[in-house]
């Protein structure tokens, strides 16, 4: 971020260090907002980033002498815009001048916005999210851009979390920004009519970021937990800005999953399945918040896939034990989910719930029916679920074959250890 000793020796000003601390705090809380507004005012990601940097640099130099401005964000937006325009003019001496004409003229546009940035600031953040998640960008680029530009993570942090080399990730970001510029992707919140489709892509990016942090199986687990926290932060922001039922549903789903983070693995990183988790470790505060959001989503309109998945997660979360779970309601919710979003993975989950409601034999028949169609033949969880039901029915030889099949299909270390443990138990 803004660096080094610009504000160091202002002599008689005893509060220089305090001001510096304040600037850092404002950087943490406001920099992404200021950045989002600067993109709108300057019409360019890179120029806005430079302007943001220069604005905080100027704050470190000027605030210790002049005191904190009444509205720091407004000050930063004005300073950032002024500095960027100034830099652009100076650079135009050497670079291709038509480049300058290509951009919207920042000086003439929306002076009122800069002077009173309280207006529409949250719209700017929303614009930024929708632009970063624009369907013209690849899924990978959407995720990288969202984490860097909306959440403020560094290229190196994102690369580490996704186990990608930093130069690869840096190129992805450079190309995505070039694409936004070349394809003239507008910096705007989509029209009402377009919103559902565009919102889908935003929700998908947020959920992918969450899952990357939640299915921690490889890499630095700490960094990955932070990814889930970022996704939840984005989910909250979205719910504040557009309380659409599916946005509520996604936030609820993430919160309820997150409530089980501690219980779903042992200290050594081994997987603990839902029915074996210590439910006293579930974070009740997150569950309560998630459940309230599900209810809001369900009354708001016909339930979408995120709200339905959140509702299923909420039923699990409210159950005192695995056996004491309302399996009738869970199977019913899976039926609704299948109507909305037919998918063999959802069918598989429904089959597992059926096994709990109607007995292992019924569940096994349902799983075999899916496997016969060949769709999940290479999906390790389908074989693991099948093995589990065979085990419960005492069909140990069949269970062993299915566990082994699952083992050959998964690369995740904790899953492998889990399957190996089950195989050893069967042999005993």
């Amino acid at each position: 971020m803004v660096d080094r000793d610009a504000a160091s020796d202002t002599g008689q000003q005893p509060s220089a260090a305090a001001v510096r601390g304040k600037v850092e705090e404002i950087y943490r809380t406001e920099s992404r907002r200021v950045f989002a507004t600067l993109i709108r005012l300057l019409g360019d990601f890179d120029l806005a980033e430079e302007g943001l940097h220069d604005a905080f640099r100027a704050a470190l130099e000027q605030w210790p002498q002049q005191g904190l401005p009444a509205n720091p964000r407004s000050w930063l937006v004005s300073a950032g815009r002024f500095k960027a325009v100034d830099a652009l003019r100076r650079r135009a001496r050497f670079e291709f001048v038509e480049d300058l004409d290509d951009r919207p003229d920042p000086a003439s546009e929306g002076a009122a916005d800069g002077d009173n940035p309280g207006d529409g600031v949250e719209d700017d953040r929303l614009r930024l999210i929708f632009t970063c998640c624009h369907p013209a960008l690849s899924a990978e680029a959407q995720i990288a851009l969202t984490l860097r530009e909306v959440c403020g993570l560094t290229t190196e942090e994102i690369a580490r979390a996704f186990l990608v080399a930093p130069p690869t990730l840096a190129q992805r970001i450079v190309r995505a920004k070039a694409r936004i510029r070349d394809a003239r992707i507008p910096y705007e919140v989509p029209e009402r009519a377009e919103l559902p489709a565009r919102l889908d892509s935003v929700l998908r990016v947020i959920y992918l970021v969450f899952n990357e942090g939640y299915s921690a199986s490889v890499g630095d687990t700490l960094t990955r937990a932070e990814l889930s926290a970022e996704a939840i932060r984005l989910g909250r922001l979205l719910v504040d800005l557009i309380p659409e039922p599916e946005a509520l549903g996604l936030l609820a789903l993430m919160l309820i999953h997150e409530s089980r983070r501690l219980a779903r693995s042992t200290p050594s990183g081994d997987l603990v399945l839902l029915d074996e988790q210590d439910r006293s470790q579930w974070q009740r505060g997150l569950i309560a918040e998630g459940t309230a959001l599900v209810e809001r989503a369900l009354v708001a309109g016909p339930a979408g896939p995120y709200a339905l998945q959140a509702a299923i997660a909420a039923v699990h979360a409210e159950a005192p034990t695995a056996a004491g779970t309302d399996w009738v309601q869970i199977v019913g919710l899976y039926d609704l989910l299948l109507q909305r979003e037919p998918s063999p993975v959802v069918e598989l989950n429904r089959a597992v719930a059926m096994a709990m409601r109607d007995g292992a034999a019924a569940g096994l028949a349902a799983i075999d029916a899916i496997l016969v169609r060949g769709e999940l033949a290479d999906y390790h969880l389908a074989h693991a679920a099948r093995a589990d039901l065979c085990r419960r029915l005492g069909r140990n030889a069949e269970a062993r074959v299915s566990y082994q099949r699952a083992l050959t299909l998964t690369m995740q270390a904790p899953e492998r250890r889990f399957l190996e443990r089950r195989l050893t138990e069967l042999a005993a």
Binding site: M1, V2, D3, R4, A6, D46, E49, E50, H53, D54, R57, A87, R90, R91, R93, F94, R148, T154, T155, E156, E157, P166, P167, L169, A170, I173, V174
Partner: protein
């Protein structure tokens, strides 16, 4: 984070027509002023042409020297900037503004800042500006 931006081009200042070199110097002055003002600047130098270079090797305890740079490429190292940036993408943005990037290329190398390196190089804290 610190990044070293290595500027490579087919021609260094000494090999340019006088007027071109003068203009190029002016561009570098403007760029360097700008990154000093923005706080990205940590250090920089222009290098004399490779024909002034000597390459040193020690083999079996004996020094051997050869003329010229140790790699033969069409593009030659003409200078460098050491910059401070938030991350690799910010460093790329700064590097893209180096005047030489429009004629040759700029290689951006992250500076190692692990503890072992810092200790070996005599930097007491992570903040040491090398």
């Amino acid at each position: 984070m610190k990044y070293l931006c290595l500027i490579c081009a087919e021609k260094v200042m000494e090999q340019m027509p006088r007027a071109d070199a003068d203009k190029h110097f002016e561009e570098y002055q403007a760029f360097t002023d700008a990154i000093r003002a923005s706080g990205h600047y940590l250090g920089c130098n222009r290098l004399l042409p490779p024909d002034a270079a000597i390459t040193v090797r020690v083999r079996d305890g004996r020094i051997s020297v050869t003329d010229g740079p140790w790699v033969e490429t069409k593009e030659q190292l003409g200078g460098y900037y050491l910059v401070e940036a938030r991350d690799l993408n910010e460093a790329i943005q700064v590097a893209a503004r180096i005047p030489g990037a429009r004629f040759g290329c700029v290689e951006v190398r992250p500076v190692a800042q692990d503890l072992q390196t810092l200790r070996a190089l005599g930097f007491e804290t992570q903040d040491a500006n090398c």
